[in-house]
């Protein structure tokens, strides 16, 4: 069965802030999580599929954006469910995957 794939670059090539209120064109992690990631994540749960997040094709990420998206998802759905469904592609910045796994692992403690 094919995975569901979500490309961050289809949301924005300039992912930016953590929260929506931190800039005029914030390209925020909060917006990406709520409007793009969570609907696909729910679809993946429903269809019993994996959800692959492709991080390539942007000009780079701030740590807050990554934490808000993936830490935030784990705070919503729990780290076990997130870990069982999410997969990542990051050929341009392979170190991001370890960072994201860390954010998911410690999501409950962050806010």
């Amino acid at each position: 069965m094919d995975n569901i794939i979500i490309r961050v670059k289809d949301f924005s090539i300039v992912p930016g802030t953590r929260k929506k209120d931190e800039g005029k064109n914030a390209h925020s992690g909060e917006e990406f999580r709520e409007d793009y990631l969570i609907p696909k994540f729910k679809e993946a749960i429903k269809d019993k599929k994996k959800l692959t997040v492709n991080l390539d094709g942007t000009i780079g990420y701030g740590t807050s954006w990554l934490e808000e998206v993936f830490g935030g998802l784990a705070r919503n759905f729990g780290k076990n469910q997130v870990n069982s469904i999410l997969e990542f592609i990051s050929e341009e910045e392979p170190y991001l995957i370890d960072d994201i796994k860390h954010y998911i692992e410690h999501a409950e403690k962050n806010n």
């Binding site: 670059k9 924005s12 090539i13 300039v14 992912p15 930016g16 802030t17 953590r18 209120d21 931190e22 800039g23 005029k24 064109n25 914030a26 390209h27 094709g57 942007t58 000009i59 780079g60 990420y61 701030g62 740590t63 807050s64 954006w65 990554l66 341009e92 910045e93 170190y95 991001l96 370890d98 960072d99 860390h102 954010y103 410690h106 403690k109």
Partner: protein, 361 residues
Amino acid sequence: MKKYYSTSEYKKANKRRAVKSHKRKLVSKEKKKKKLRDKQGKSVEQLKKEDLLKRYIKISAPNKFSFIKYPEETIKFIHKLERQYQNRKKVFVDLSLIEELDYSAISILVSVMFTFKSRNIDFNGSFPENPDLKKLLIDSDFFKYLNRPVGNKLEYNVGKPNQIFTRANKEVNSELGLVVMEEVSETIWGKKRTCKGLQRVLLELMHNTNNHADTGGKGVKHWWLSVNHNKKEQKVSFVFIDYGVGIFESLKNKPNNSKWAGAIEKISNRFKYGSNNDILKLLLNGDVHMTVTGEHFRGKGLPGIKEVQDRNQISNLHIISNDVFSDVENDNYKKLNKNFSGTFAFWELNKDNINSEWIIS
């Protein structure tokens, strides 16, 4: 003649008055003569300038003006300006005798000028006598904005793209990185390249100013980014400044419900370090994060910036905040005798730094 005017008392008093009046007239005459003597040989323009200057508080810039090379002298200069800003006094910065000037100093001048003018406080200055330094300042548009209102805006754009360009904002603007990247990669590699480390540093610093520069809330203080192109050496230098509370003051003021509350005390107890220069080193290396939050630092704000330097995505990173100077690349952390209220970062991008193909095909 009336009897009164012929009395000896009146005559004495009248004489005294006459003598005093004569003395006053002589002094006044001498003053006028001196004024005329002073004006001799001076052009009308020169005289107008001198007249204008009388209404300003004159502050001389350091002869060797560089925040990176001479941080304490520069902080002293900033303190003098801050005092006048607080008292809403007009300031004239004398730059005529400066012998050394770099982009870090120009960024200070431009940002301070806009800070004064945005509050409708007059700010003026003189040209450096050294022609090279004069050109450097002219290219930055410092003089262009001296005599025009700037308003109190969220965003400012000053200077010329591909030379010296300064941008200011209070928000986190991730689109800025795209514009900057296009410009700087053309200077360095002769074509557009993606510099993901650059975007990381810009986002972390903007986020830091937006979230932590003012203890009263988000988006209160401006950040200033100056991008300076050196086509000859194929490198671009960056200066980022905010005049917020600074890294250590921000840490001290964390609310009780924050996981960073009492951070300084926890660090002091854990590492037995007292000085902020030691703490900044620990902070950038991620040790502080571990100590204060009990979590690994991986990919967090300030350590995230150092990781970019360690991955060779940028070079020559310097950070100055409160009483600490750091040359991160050379692992040199110094305590300063003067306190800079704010955060200053300098870094470079050169042809040896890691980059990748331009992301927009």
